[in-house]
Amino acid sequence: MKFGRTTAFLALAAAVAVPYGVIAGDNHSHDAKHADKHAAIDQKAPDFSLAGIDGKTYSLADFKGKYVVLEWNNFDCPFVKKFYGSGKMQSLQNEYTDKGVAWLTICSSAEGKQGYYDAETLKTMNADRKTSPTAYLRDADGTVGKMYGAKTTPHIFIINPDGVLIYAGAIDDKPDFDPATIEGANNYVVTTLGSAIAGKPVAVKTTEPYGCGVKYSN
């Protein structure tokens, strides 16, 4: 009888432990999936899937045949405020999504760090700013950010309809957070997409991005 009860208790302990262990292991499968891929200029841009704040899941592969702009974002960063406060980012989003370009805004802020918000709050923040990207994606574990080597907010990546990365770098050539410098700046989204859509070679393929550091988890 004593043996039976001990066995029963051990069986129960195992019953408790097994599902809990399964759950603990589940959280890491996502990271491993993308670990070996890195973005490089003139190379195929690595595919990814991220949840949008609208509840849908977006993959880069969904936009094959279109130009895609990836814009790294953290609404609380002074350099990002420069472009959203002045309305410049919204006008770029409007202009290019109207031309059939897919514009994906991505936030890689880790949970608890600057720029991290739940989807509901981000919906409100996007509505307040009257943004119009194709989607706003959350990348709290930083997988996609690290895959693309996103360093700053903003940091821009442009992918052509064949899925090749044709630009990586700063949004413009005025590295500061003063909205007054937007006007005279050479905007690399405009120059890159302008050349590429017109069938001309892209003159500047990479620039050093400027802005706040992406708030990855440590």
């Binding site: 759950i23 509840g55 609380d76 500061d176 620039t207 706040c212």
Partner: protein
């Protein structure tokens, strides 16, 4: 990572409702429709646990009842009953604790716990002061005027080339007509790692110095010196700040040294100097530039480490280590080679190498580098 649709989860909820203790814990578990598609990882784990718990409890209580009946029939009482109940209680407690834990994680993921604290006050992160190495100025006699930034622990401001993120502070010096200012230098920076990024900048304190030469002929009262300073303080977050600073100094026949002359002198020691006895040669090798370093100084000089900070952004891979090799130099002197990896995304290499080389020669020494980059 399987997504569990809302309808299915609701089904699980109904089936579980027969169990009073489980129903109680579920009541505190938020089932917001809006959050349905999100955080399914956490939610599916809750469903799994709940199922496991139900099976387990049902099985265990049946066992208890069977044992109880058996014992009651045989000996009229069952002394082990309290232990059985205690184990059941333990299991319930265990489950409740786990549910609370999962609920906490879900609540955080949904932002139910308080959001990030409001941005800190910029003036608490960086205190700006205008100081001079004199308490009184004399006509025609140059003195040093400096902006001192006192930086909160854990935060930093950037160097001229900010590294992977940030922005160098800016200073606009305002001096009366007839005064001349000469910016002296950007003191050499240090490196700070934040996640995968490397920042070039300063922690705790930065003193930016300019040399001011008053006119040879001056009359009258005190002189007002001013500076407009802007900066970006970064830690996890980046917070911009600015200040308008003023300093009044009397004019006397002879200048008087101020207590700030010590710290200003110390920061002047961080100015990069001309290469002097060091010869620097730069060449391209594969995906890096090689800086060949030789010194005409005596052979007891030992270089134990070095880092090259370029003035321009987008030249080097900021986060890559720079490896120093010791080579056999002429006349028994040591020669060194520093391997500085180029920025991974660079599509071209620069014509010249411009920047500051910080060498560890027992104490740090910074030299200015401006040499052509040879293609091998």
């Amino acid at each position: 990572m399987q997504q569990i649709p809302c309808a299915d989860r609701d089904g699980v909820r109904r089936r579980g409702a027969a169990w009073a203790s489980v129903a109680r814990t579920r009541a505190s578990f938020p089932m917001r429709r809006s959050g349905c598609a999100r955080h399914y990882k956490v939610r599916s784990s809750v469903v799994l646990k709940r199922r496991a718990f139900l099976v387990m409890m049902r099985w265990y209580m049946r066992a208890c009842i069977r044992i109880h009946r058996y014992k009651t029939a045989r000996v009229g009482s069952w002394p082990r009953a309290p232990r059985c109940a205690a184990i059941a209680a333990l299991l319930i407690a265990c489950h409740l604790a786990n549910t609370a834990c999962i609920f906490g994680a879900t609540a955080r993921a949904q932002g139910l716990t308080p959001q990030l604290p409001a941005d800190p006050d910029p003036s608490e992160l960086v205190r700006a002061q205008l100081v001079a190495d004199v308490d009184a100025i004399a006509p025609g006699k140059p003195f040093r005027l400096a902006v001192r930034l006192e930086i909160k622990e854990g935060w930093h401001v950037n160097w001229l080339n900010p590294g992977d993120a940030g922005l160098a502070p800016g200073v606009e010096w305002r001096v009366p007509g007839g005064f001349k200012t000469t910016v002296i230098c950007w003191p050499y920076p240090a490196r700070f790692e934040t996640g995968p990024l490397v920042i070039f900048g300063y922690a705790k304190e930065l003193i930016l110095i300019t040399e001011v030469t008053p006119p040879a002929q001056m009359s009258g009262g005190p002189v007002q010196l001013s500076a407009e300073v802007t900066w970006l303080a970064c830690e996890e977050a980046c917070i911009p700040g600015s200040a308008s600073l003023n300093l009044m100094l009397p004019v006397e026949q002879a200048s008087r040294t101020s207590p700030w002359s010590g710290p200003i002198e110390a920061w002047l020691g961080r100015c990069p100097r001309p290469a002097g006895a060091w010869n620097v040669d730069a060449s391209v090798f594969e995906d890096a530039m090689l800086l060949d370093l030789q010194t005409a100084e005596d052979s007891s000089v030992k270089l134990s480490g070095a880092f090259f900070y370029p003035y321009d952004t987008g030249v080097i891979e900021n986060s890559s280590p720079q490896l120093l090799s010791v080579l056999e130099g002429p006349q028994g002197r040591s020669a060194y080679q520093l391997r500085v990896p180029f920025w991974r995304m660079a599509t071209s290499t620069p014509e010249r190498v411009r920047g500051v080389l910080v060498m560890d020669l027992g104490s740090p020494r910074a030299i200015e580098v401006d040499v052509p980059l040879r293609r091998r």
